[in-house]
């Protein structure tokens, strides 16, 4: 499991821990995990996964879940983005594909951003629909490149099951994205004259989908997004925020002062998304047996409930701090006999 310190990695590890069929869970992360693990082992590794090859060999890893693909360009520099998404994926796959590796299943958490967002787009993208325009932003380019690496890996290692999940816009109680930040403010950016249709995915459904494919070892590419689509204006209304229409030309340049002041979040990915939206066909994963808990509108609703609660009750204090020695004690000390951790 990569990205053990990130939101998704931590969540999925917690979900998988309850499965007795899984012997050992190794979490790789660049920083200490933010959530407690029941039995998973945490290994600190740099984002290039230089030590991964050794780990794969030593621990006889059979499944790799790659959750560490960045999809929020406001959090990292362009260089770090490339290192994490492209170089990280490359090294990971190189280790997984080494001749002495026992890896037989690779799960990759990608994003529907690989489809882009352009006026030429179909209303719904299927997994095999090509993009209608070349990628414009660094984020999209890095994801497209990372997926190409995964595709090559799948071709070179026909015995390994490769699953790629493309997740839509995620909202939920805990996840923070440029979209969630915008929707939490009193004024939320829109682009004048455009009211795009968007799909949303609840954070729990993300974890459940990753868990689902990890258990079942189903190969292929799958779109993951809540059913139905909502216009951006309706999303804003549900969230109780007012739309601030930005000029449709030179949008990002003119919005730069607002972005600088932290009044709006407008990464390059959102500029097109807030014009043309994006929809994906999610029947393939449902045919494989996956059931969603939330529709797109249900996701927005669940997000609003959580933010209302936070507004009234304040931020819950961080419940957990990773202490390396303590974790090692619980896992390996002979005096820990089970039962109470």
């Amino acid at each position: 499991m990569t990205g053990a310190n990130t939101f998704w990695g931590g969540r999925v590890i917690q979900a998988l821990e309850s499965d007795p069929g899984i012997d050992v869970i190794l979490g790789l992360g660049t920083e200490a995990p933010s959530v407690p693990f029941e039995r998973a082992e945490f290994v600190r590794a740099d984002q290039a996964y230089a030590i991964l090859h050794r780990i794969v060999r030593a621990a006889q890893v059979d499944t790799v879940v790659h959750t560490f693909l960045m999809v929020d360009s406001t959090q990292v520099t362009a260089r770090a983005l490339h290192e994490i998404n492209v170089i990280g994926t490359m090294n990971l796959l190189a280790a997984a594909g080494a001749s002495d590796s026992k890896v037989r299943h690779v799960v990759v958490k990608s994003s529907t951003m690989v489809y882009g967002s352009s006026p030429k787009d179909p209303a719904l993208f299927r997994e095999d629909t090509p993009r209608s325009s070349p990628p414009r932003t660094r984020m999209e380019r890095s994801l497209v490149e990372a997926e190409a690496l995964v595709r090559d890996f799948a071709e070179d290692n026909p015995a390994t099951v490769v699953t790629v999940l493309r997740f839509g816009n995620v909202l939920g109680a805990d996840i923070v994205t440029p979209i969630s930040r915008n929707l939490s403010r009193r004024l939320c950016p829109s682009i004048f004259g455009f009211d795009p249709l968007l799909q949303f995915l609840e954070e729990d459904d993300v974890t459940r989908a990753l868990e689902f494919v990890t258990h079942r070892e189903i190969p292929g590419i799958y779109n993951v997004a809540g059913s139905g689509m909502l216009p951006w204006s309706e999303v804003a209304t549900i969230c109780g925020t007012r739309l601030l229409p930005l000029p449709p030309v030179q949008t990002r340049r003119l919005a730069a002062p607002l972005t600088r002041l932290g009044l709006v979040d407008l990464p390059p990915e959102l500029d097109q998304l807030l014009r043309y939206g994006r929809g994906v066909d999610t029947t393939r994963l449902q045919e494989a047996g996956f059931r969603y808990r939330f529709t797109s509108a249900g996701t927005v609703d669940s997000f609003v409930r959580a933010s209302r609660l936070r507004r009234s009750a304040g931020n819950p204090p961080p419940a957990y701090t990773y202490e390396h020695d303590v974790e090692q004690f619980f896992r390996h000390s002979p005096s820990v006999t089970g039962g109470e951790r």
Binding site: P119, K120, D121, P122, A123, L124, R126, D128, T129, R151, A154, E155, P158, V161, V162, V164, I191, F192, G193, F194, D195, L197, F212, H215, R216, E217, I218, P219, G220, I221, S227, G228, M229, L230, P231, S233, E234, T237, I238, P248, R275, Y276, G279, A288, G289, F290, R291, Y292, R293, F294, T295, A297, G298, D301
Partner: protein
Amino acid sequence: MAPRQVATEDRLSGEVVRLPLMPETEPLEDPRLGDVDTWGRSESFRALLRTLYDPIYSKWFRVEWEGLDKIPAEGGALLVANHAGAIPSDAPVIMHGIEKELGRPVYGMADYFFRTIPVVGTLWSRGGGVPANPLNAYRLLHDEHQLALVFPEGTKGPSKSFTDRYQLRRFGRGGFVEIAMRAGVPVVPIAVIGSEETMPVVLRLPALARALGIPYFPVTANMLLLGPLGLVVPFPAKFRLRVLDPVTFDVPANQERYTKSRVMEEAERIRMDLQENVYDMLQTRRSVWFG
């Protein structure tokens, strides 16, 4: 991962047997506020548009139909028509007309360029317009059994000069035939007269069009007579529409590709049929304004 597709299917069916499906749940809660569907259309907005447009349809253009019964009462069908007038009135006339007379909505498919215009693009989509994309057309016709309207001439139809009126342009690359074949639906041609006179193109300004990034910039008789108002006010020409016999293709649906010769042959036949009927209707027309 296309080459692995076959293995995917095999493994998939095997997996499903071994592991039970996730339990079926009740329909999920879907707390929507508006009525905009996944196509971007809003029924309440369309109802408003129909109320506003009906006087233009029946009083201004005084639309008359022939052969409306040839439009299938159910199932998907691809409607194709000749396209004319700088800002063409034929699309709303056909869409409103069929919905009014037969109660079936028509999804007008237009160039993606529409979507890039602020406000207009959004209203077009809320009103039932869909970007002309093969995947969209397939989903509308095959999966949802709807009526879709396309103008195979594209922008070449409305941008032609008034001196070329009622001379049908090339029908693109016959993409519409291929779409109908793939979706397994008939093509229903509709010949339209009156459209050319609603907004005659006197000349075009290609340099200005390029500068504005639009397909063509027409100078119309309406603009010369009415000034800026001429951009939105069409002349009250009498509209007559004739629905021709539906064309079906005896080819299997859902094919990736169809032979270009067959596609072009069918497209050309439909074009000739429309052209002949347009000429025929013009022969019996006594007056542009009264029909």
